[in-house]
Amino acid sequence: MVDAARQPLIDVMAYSDVERVDGYIGNFRAQVRRNPRYVLADRCNGCGACSRVCPIEVPNSFELDIAPRKAIDVPHGQAVPLIYQIDIDNCIKCYQCVTACGHLDAIDFSQKAEVVDLDIGAIVVATGFDSFDATKIPEFGYSRYPNVITAMEMERLANSAGPTIGHLVRPSDGKFPHSLAIIQCVGSRDKRFNEYCSGFCCMYSIKNALYLKQAHPEMDICIFYMDIRTPAKGYEEFYNRARQMGIRFIQGRPSQVTEDPVTHNLFVEVEDQALGQVIEMEAEMVCLAAAAIPRGDSEQVASMLTLSRSPSGFYMEYHPKLRPVDSPTDGIFLAGAIQGPKDIPASVAQGSAAASRAARVLSKDTWEIEPIVARVDAERCISAQGKKCGICARACPYGAITVEQGYAAVVTPAKCHGCGGCVAECPQDAIRQDHFTDAQVVAQLAVLLKDSPQEKILAFMCHWCSYGGADNAGTSHFEYPASSRGVRVMCSARMDQDFILDAFRRGAGMVLVSGCHPQDCHYITGQQVAARRFERIPRTLERMGINPERFRVEWISAAEGDKYARVITEMDAKLKSMDRGQIIAETARALPEINNRLKRWRSVPYMADLLTEPELEAVR
């Protein structure tokens, strides 16, 4: 901590919130709000004279509200930076602190929040974890029985820098607990709450038991566990030491904790797996190893940075095996427990890994980005002919397009992120997206739907989420029927209505359009542009005589392989339940209308050749 403050190249911006992030790899701009401390950083020398005279006590979240702090204070003695702060909501404005501060004159009640813009080339997200709220398991009595505490509270109570100067005491009577029951997996490995293992709680419970046993050899300490997980280097030896020192380990998940209302002693009831019978232990204190859970604001931060979250809620890495610290967004990296529960050695290692991945970018003067941008064909744009349009500009999430009546729309390539939304929205087919042109997509449709199209599901997937979801189904080996044929584009916004109509024109049995969940979209609002378009499609199909049940829209994240497999399985079952002749008849009926709608498309380069009539056998 102190090293970070001493390193001249690190600007520690504590008590600050990142409010907004724009830009792209190599060129991000972050808006950061520095909250007012009402104490001037460059004048406060951390002496604490103000705090000593302050008459007001307020809760201190650093001490988990076990002990208070003053209205002007630091959260703890080793705080970095060591600058005092006024809890302005509780301050009574007696100004005794101002007097105590004297000639240093560091206190400034007029201080305001300050918003600064930072230009940066890469970002490391290391926002950590929260602890599971143990009151959600009422059987354990947390918050009802004073002597049931959490492991985090234990850390403070056993801490010589903590509120009790390291003397472990019972909240009910301030006395030392002669017996302690520690309950593992509280909210972890429990299908009601979190399926995953929090990873480090076995080790910290053993640590606390060892520490207490060393200081108080007569203390009776018992750990109730499901499995002890100590796989890292030296950890099993640590566990063995605890066993040798006489700490008791009982396998079994306690069913309930009850309290003697007079002594406030606790009774832990558990089925001992070794004995195969229910036992009860009386303990003067119970400590709960609460699960590590994702940060409360992780969804908000994810949408600000276009990150994705795994089903557990922790942030998703680009690839679990090969790119474990890269986020799905180029130039943004993940470190520590935000990516999944991690102990300190693993968090430090991942922090270094993220730094080196970021330095890969930051050590260069320039970075190459994919040229998958939109380009306007000025001759086709009706704005150039003096007509009012600008549909493309309204679809663009990045404000990359300017349209002035009388001139063709202009795309600024450096601002374009290549979602393809404008391309799909332009009613004149006047914009193309390099590497995902209409011809490049339709050429694939023509091939995939050449033989037995009625038996196939044409699945449009976005690069970031649903294609990733389909990959995830693969890495998880979730089997599904082999009737789907995927076509990848960058964003669901690129999935042109004409693609969907063309797929049906060619006789596809089913069409799936799939993309990111709205909060995961890699192009801010690309998904919304797509969702609005897709909403209109069932009616369009119905009017043409195509059963709208043959069309499906699904938002599938890169972590939802199970969902991808399920969607295809369901669509396949639906398709099999339909009459093949009926599908062919629907196709034949809709053909003239679709052909008519796709007329303009024929003049787009290479499209005329691709839009030949579907082979008769396909609609036979």
């Binding site: 959260p75 080793q78 930076p81 230009d119 970021a358 009737s483 044929r485």
Partner: protein, 199 residues
Amino acid sequence: MPVDDKLRVGVYICSCGANIGSVIDPAAVAEYASHLPDVVLARDYMYMCGDPGQNLIRKDIRQYKLNRVVVAACSVRMHEPTFRACVADAGLNPFLMEMANIREQDTWVHSKDPEGALLKAKELVAAAVAKVRHVFPLTTITVAVTKKAMVIGGGVAGISAALDLADMGIPTYLVEKELSIGGTMAQLNKTFPTMDCSI
């Protein structure tokens, strides 16, 4: 530019050890691909991404004057950068290479239906060939890099990232929402496995 009569497509089917090869016969896919329009050669190989596999592509590009390449293997999210770099080494524009995903989206999910998986593999390869016949060379966009970093969150992970970045000479903003950096670790008593104090 696209679809002219001088197109020369090379198609490579990866067996990925047993990952693809145990479900479908890569040679059968290659045989099928060899008849697709503009395909001048189609091969299968045990591991396309390994050095010998990549050398095969590079050698063929030079020897057979290939101007389009299709690699049917794993996901683009896995090896698109690999094969783009590979064809670029041999002087081909990297955007003239397309992949067909016959592992994650085929053999790994249809292992109980090898026939269906084979048909799907063939059609995915045909689709990639169809696309690659319409692609054209692109030049990557070069952007300047602002040589500064921001770390969000000043726990032990964020501090460690910020220190390493700064030690490499990169100015770093360490943004922490609480009054002090340190995160959870600062609240801990002794820490395992060393049992030393946390701060």
